[in-house]
Symmetry: C2
Subunit: 229 residues, 2 copies
Amino acid sequence: MAFTYEFPRAALTVDCVIFGLDEACLKALLIKRGIDPFRGRWALPGGFVHVDETVDDAARRELREETGLQRVFLEQLYTFGDLNRDPRERVVTVAYFALVNLHDHRLKAASDAENAAWFDAADLPRLAFDHESIIQIALARLKGKVRYCPIGFELLPRKFTLSQLQRLYETILERPLDKRNFRKKVLQLDMLEELDEVETDVAHRAARLYRFNEAKYAKSTKQGFNFEI
Amino acid sequence: MAFTYEFPRAALTVDCVIFGLDEACLKALLIKRGIDPFRGRWALPGGFVHVDETVDDAARRELREETGLQRVFLEQLYTFGDLNRDPRERVVTVAYFALVNLHDHRLKAASDAENAAWFDAADLPRLAFDHESIIQIALARLKGKVRYCPIGFELLPRKFTLSQLQRLYETILERPLDKRNFRKKVLQLDMLEELDEVETDVAHRAARLYRFNEAKYAKSTKQGFNFEI
DNA sequence: TCAAAAGTGTTGAGCGTACACCCATGC
DNA sequence: GCATGGGTGTACGCTCAACACTTTTGA
């Protein structure tokens, strides 16, 4: 079976930049390519957009097929349409970025463990195609967006301590934050729910757990409020 | 001549949302469609991406061919990849948004004047395809971005008065700004060059003209400065 | 001389920032 | 009892917001 068009068409793909947060560093999930071109190089998970699925669905499908990740934060990043991105033929790719919580989402068996691995986002191996620049743009987007949107929580477990949250911002923004000011700020934003629980299994005083509360956040922002760290 | 592929491929297009600023309202440039589907409806200028041009180049080319506009601010907006955007077949479009200065850039003869017109962005006619939602997203992006990036100047003549600049922000942000505070703020951002000229042909005291100075802006921002209105 | 818009300072409130010590817990 | 991080308050400076009158010009 073959498909014929009057004019040549670019192939359309999706690629996903997947960020996770380790104790103290930001990680990106990469796949080792099993085929040419760039066989053996690390690359972003991704693949061709089927003609009968939306581009968003293609991104979610590739994410699931190549890494086993489902129901994670996923948002369109940018479309890369230069001419020689792929040595084989003209390929335009719509890049997405995903945020996952490394604790809840262990990589599933679906992804051949040999071929998927987390890398320190600040110390990446050589990548296939233009994936290096796609990741850089995703990093810039994350840094910018985390300051005015409550997306950082996607990188943490559902229940977290304020110290974890602070480390998250310090890691992403690459600068230290003052503990007292940070706590004052996030609590006054009135979007966290204080739980009657504390963390367990720590060798020091256990910290109180909090949970992001969508409804509270919506209410605060509706009152003309601006999330801003 | 025909082009054959193993799997069916979506067609790839670009569409441009073009904003201009009239005395007191934000305008969008639309094209009246001469062919089906949606013949006779207004639509965003755009067209197919050629296989031998980048997506950015395609956007610039379509802008030039359909409206005569060249050398204007143009930036990628978002990629729309839903299934039934176009009744003929699967079409994915990369949308761009452009900012033009209505005074310097009169529509050229290149664009059949009958078929291109500026509409009040707040009062658009029925549009073809999903172009209405593309414009809404472009508006949101403009509103957001104008507050932390000096892109508003693209909508004004090269030399402008502070009142024109203030009207620009008031129009885009849809709220009144205090004159003294506004002037204090933009001058202290140290990105405007005060000229030894005043506006002409006004029936009242002539206002001083200013010009956006890229170098000053770069210098100010490098000093850890943040543009923010 | 009138109309229309240009241009100009001050004050109070709230927010961001800087900063240091005691507390609870597990080992 | 000691090491480790959890948790808390205050003071200062700066930025933002509110606010009204005089000046210049052309008609």
